[in-house]
Amino acid sequence: MKNQKSQSNLPFLRLNIGPMQVAVRSCLDQFTKDLSELYSHVRQPDIYENQLDRQNMLVLEAVPSPSINPFYKRYTVKGDGEDLFVHLKQNEVLPYLEWATNWRVMARCPEFLQIHAASLSLNGKGLILAAASGSGKSTLSAALMSRGWRYLCDEFALIHQQTLQLHAFPKAICIKEGSFSILDELGMPRWERKHYVKAFKGNVAYVRPSKLSQQNLTATYPVQRIVFPRYVAHHQPVLREMSRSEAAIELAELSFNRHTFGGQQTIDTLTEVCRNARCYRLETGDIHRSCEMIESLMRDVDIKPTRNIQAA
């Protein structure tokens, strides 16, 4: 990428993502253009540094890392003035800026318990898909969104500590190359630039939130179903109900901000969330049938606790 400009005179892109205002600036023309395009649906008028409301905005920047070698260009992503990721290549800046957004949301929103999970809603009912990286949460989120679900977030479930409801933070869904064929099957347009790479995920593409997911971003949703998905290649989907106490403990282990939120507060919050929800494990290698099974859960189908549900 060319055309690195002097940073301080550049305006900040302003994005309204869920409850957060995010201001982003970069010296890289191509990166700024890509970000504008990817988040055009939430873009607000640009602002300059003297107009920033740092109290109420996440401020992110991608700046050149210091180097004496002009041919060795590396970049640093800063969040609210703090260096978060350093010595990045150009094609890593966008994915790491997204991670920086996640970290700053964690730091700036202590009223939310933040779980490493995707969250969606259907007809006003909230769903949490909780699992570690690589389990297929993002792909499953994209698939459900293509079927009319409201997508809330694919990186974390934001649960308000008082209302216990899910809040939306609809960033673009990041999908790795191995799942591109699934997006193609679903007929979902993906936004990709061959040169973006995200750490261990490799080449990535993005799926923009659907029109439904972009509307009414302040709405909140009670958690009604919690699913722990696990991708097993070529495996027919099997859904098994699990005990709520087991689910609460696993969610606690997946909480990003458990220590700052408070250990006991985390357990109290998750106990109440699970008390009002039904919890399941899903092992699957078939995304379409998985979506059907998850949808049947949300339609108040009575599933007996001891039964394993297997796709026909």
Partner: protein
């Protein structure tokens, strides 16, 4: 009972009691350990080291029985009545559970 945290116990190991024919006082559960019940099971949270534990119904009953004024025999008798097992099995089960609680630092030293 399932331990779900990797933190080592801050308390010394307590061996199971093996003296027959003697009324052995029951150890006391720590008052600061938080208990949350869900569908007949419980989550215990240790605020000192952040560990969490899941107790099924029988373990929860033994845990709730661990208070001053009770004997181990009392706990074993309760298990016999609730689960239709013989006395010897009940005693062994109770001793194992007490030992687990003690190993994880959930009882008053």
């Amino acid at each position: 009972m399932f331990k779900t945290s990797q933190e080592p116990s801050a308390y010394p190991t307590v061996n199971a009691w093996t003296i027959p024919g003697t009324a052995i006082p029951c150890p006391t559960r720590r008052r600061d350990v938080v208990k949350k019940t869900l569908d007949g099971e419980a989550i215990l949270y240790d605020p000192i080291n952040g560990s969490t534990f899941r107790l099924n119904q029988s373990a929860l009953n033994v845990w709730m029985g661990c208070h001053p004024g009770r004997q181990l025999d009392d706990l074993a008798r309760d298990v016999c009545q609730q689960y239709d097992v013989d006395e010897s099995t009940a005693h062994d089960d109770v001793q194992q559970m007490i030992a687990l609680f003690a190993n994880h630092g959930l009882l008053t030293p």
